[in-house]
């Protein structure tokens, strides 16, 4: 009863579906983020999405769509910067993150409401609408389906880009593909835990899985379980204890990571 009780409310049902979709999507994409060491880029994309949400809010559009468009523009920007090679990638990312975030805050001054700012920064999973859920569902299926279709090339590219290029695979295409999928994924994370904490939803479940297994497919599975489990766990905590769901989700995932780390250390690996 304790487990089912919250779901007599429609908003909790929607929140649960959103948690499962986002937790799954962020964990699966997070495996690539961790293995390719793209955490910083992920962070940039979440912050890049922020001004898009504010603009959508100002014109009374869908926040999710606004975030998606802005994250995709940021992804393109990072891709273009990285190709020029006149600045280091982490410098380019650092500049982009702060600029996009500042731009969002600036726009926010026009709304004169910081209550909504808080839901963008820290997520508002209890306020998820049906339209949001449909968009989230489409993005989840689209991104995971694309990763599945291109899996063998993405693995080869992550492992040995030179060989991939030597057999005629366009590494530029794959790099852009990963950035695009990552941009879409960060938006799914933002819906659940907000702009500030999305990087954790991407990185922590995959990092935890990496500690527990040395193989790719099991890493995907473990990360998915940790991601979805943390999202649902955080939702329960926020319902029963009344804490911020985004923070609870991230801290549960971090606890999983901590336990995995201790397990690995105790085993002496």
């Amino acid at each position: 009863m304790y487990l089912i009780e919250p779901f007599q409310y429609a908003f909790m049902q929607k929140a649960a579906v959103a948690s499962i979709l986002s937790g799954l999507l962020c964990a699966v994409v997070g495996v690539y983020v961790v293995l390719r060491r793209m955490a910083l880029v992920g962070d940039a994309l979440t912050h890049g999405a922020f001004p898009g949400m504010v603009i959508a809010y100002l014109i009374r559009g869908n926040l999710f769509l606004g975030a998606t468009v802005a994250a995709l523009i940021t992804a393109l920007g990072i891709g273009a910067f990285a190709r020029k090679r006149s600045v280091y990638e982490d410098t380019a990312v650092g500049v982009t993150v702060s600029a996009m975030f500042a731009f969002g805050v600036l726009l926010m001054s026009y709304t004169q409401s910081y209550r909504d700012l808080s839901s963008m920064l820290f997520g508002n999973i209890l306020g998820v609408t049906t339209v949001d859920l449909i968009l989230l569902g489409v993005v989840t299926i689209g991104v995971i389906g694309t990763l599945f279709l291109y899996e063998k090339e993405l693995i080869l590219f992550s492992l040995d880009p030179t060989y991939a290029e030597s057999i005629g695979i366009s590494v530029h295409f794959l790099r852009s593909l990963i950035l695009t999928l990552l941009a879409l994924t960060t938006v799914a994370g933002i819906v659940v835990v907000g702009t500030v904490l999305t990087t954790a939803l991407l990185v922590t479940p995959a990092a935890c899985a990496r500690l527990l297994t040395k193989s790719f497919k099991p890493m995907m599975r473990i990360a998915s379980i940790v991601g979805v489990g943390s999202c649902l766990g955080g939702l329960y905590l926020s319902y029963y204890v009344g804490v911020s769901s985004g923070a609870a989700i991230v801290l549960i995932a971090t606890t999983f990571f901590g336990l995995a780390f201790i397990w690995k250390t105790v085993r002496g690996e």
Partner: protein
């Protein structure tokens, strides 16, 4: 091929040029971006089919650069390179390039067998998974390089010599006609060295050509048919 096939390069098959040499480089120059002096200037070399050529020269003489250019990974500034009579990059599956091992992310969580299978991808193209024939090719390559016992090992747990053999196995399953090997004998102990010699020896009767950049060339051995010296 009867079923749908989406090769990586724009074209999978080009017409073979009859009696073309495996590789002909004619007066090539290669610059690195922003540098005034070329790494390779006015280099010409012709490698007949079936030759095992040692590419010898001091560090910085451009051995790796030359191999990369032949694999289509670096643009050449002037001159031409022809592979079996065709422009570089027209027929990816006929050329296998084996990098120096340090350019690979060895911590990536996959097994030896999966890495070797990567050599079949050029035949599969986008969206297709390896089939039975591909598995057989991988089995053969693992046997040939005597690493059958390692097939389930994570690549991160391999020694330097084992890593090298795994990469040679991947090049072999590609069924390429021209192999470009960059320092394949570094980090090989004596035993692995003989596995490599054996590998080269088996290429000969198959009519395959190998160009091997190496610090380990010894005159008078029958490992190579010919040697080409690059000057600094």
């Amino acid at each position: 091929m009867t079923d749908a096939h989406f090769p990586y390069g724009r074209r999978h098959h080009v017409d073979n040029v009859p009696e073309a040499k495996a590789l002909v480089a004619d007066a090539i120059c290669i610059f690195y971006p922003g540098e005034a002096d070329p790494v390779i200037s006015n280099l010409s070399v012709s490698v007949p089919t079936g030759t095992r050529l040692a590419l010898v020269g001091p560090n910085g003489s451009g051995k790796s650069t030359f191999l990369k250019a032949c694999a289509g990974l670096l643009p050449i500034h002037s001159g031409t390179i022809r592979v079996y009579g065709n422009r570089v990059g027209l027929c990816h599956h006929r050329v296998a390039y084996v990098d120096q091992r340090n350019e690979i992310e060895w911590r990536f969580p996959i097994r030896v067998r999966e890495l070797v299978m990567g050599g079949r991808y050029v035949h599969l193209g986008w969206f297709r998974s390896p089939g039975e024939k591909d598995q057989e090719r991988v089995d053969q390559a693992l046997e040939m390089l005597e690493i059958r016992n390692l097939e389930k090992r994570q690549i991160g747990d391999l020694s330097g010599g084992q890593r090298q053999k795994v990469l040679l196995a991947r090049a072999f399953v590609q069924e390429a006609d021209l192999l470009l090997l960059d320092e394949p004998m570094n980090a090989l102990d004596k035993e692995s060295r003989s596995v490599f010699s054996n590998f080269l020896a088996q290429l000969k009767p198959m009519g395959k050509t190998a160009i091997v950049a190496t610090h380990h060339y010894e005159e008078g051995t029958d490992e190579f048919d010919d040697v080409f010296y690059l000057k600094e």
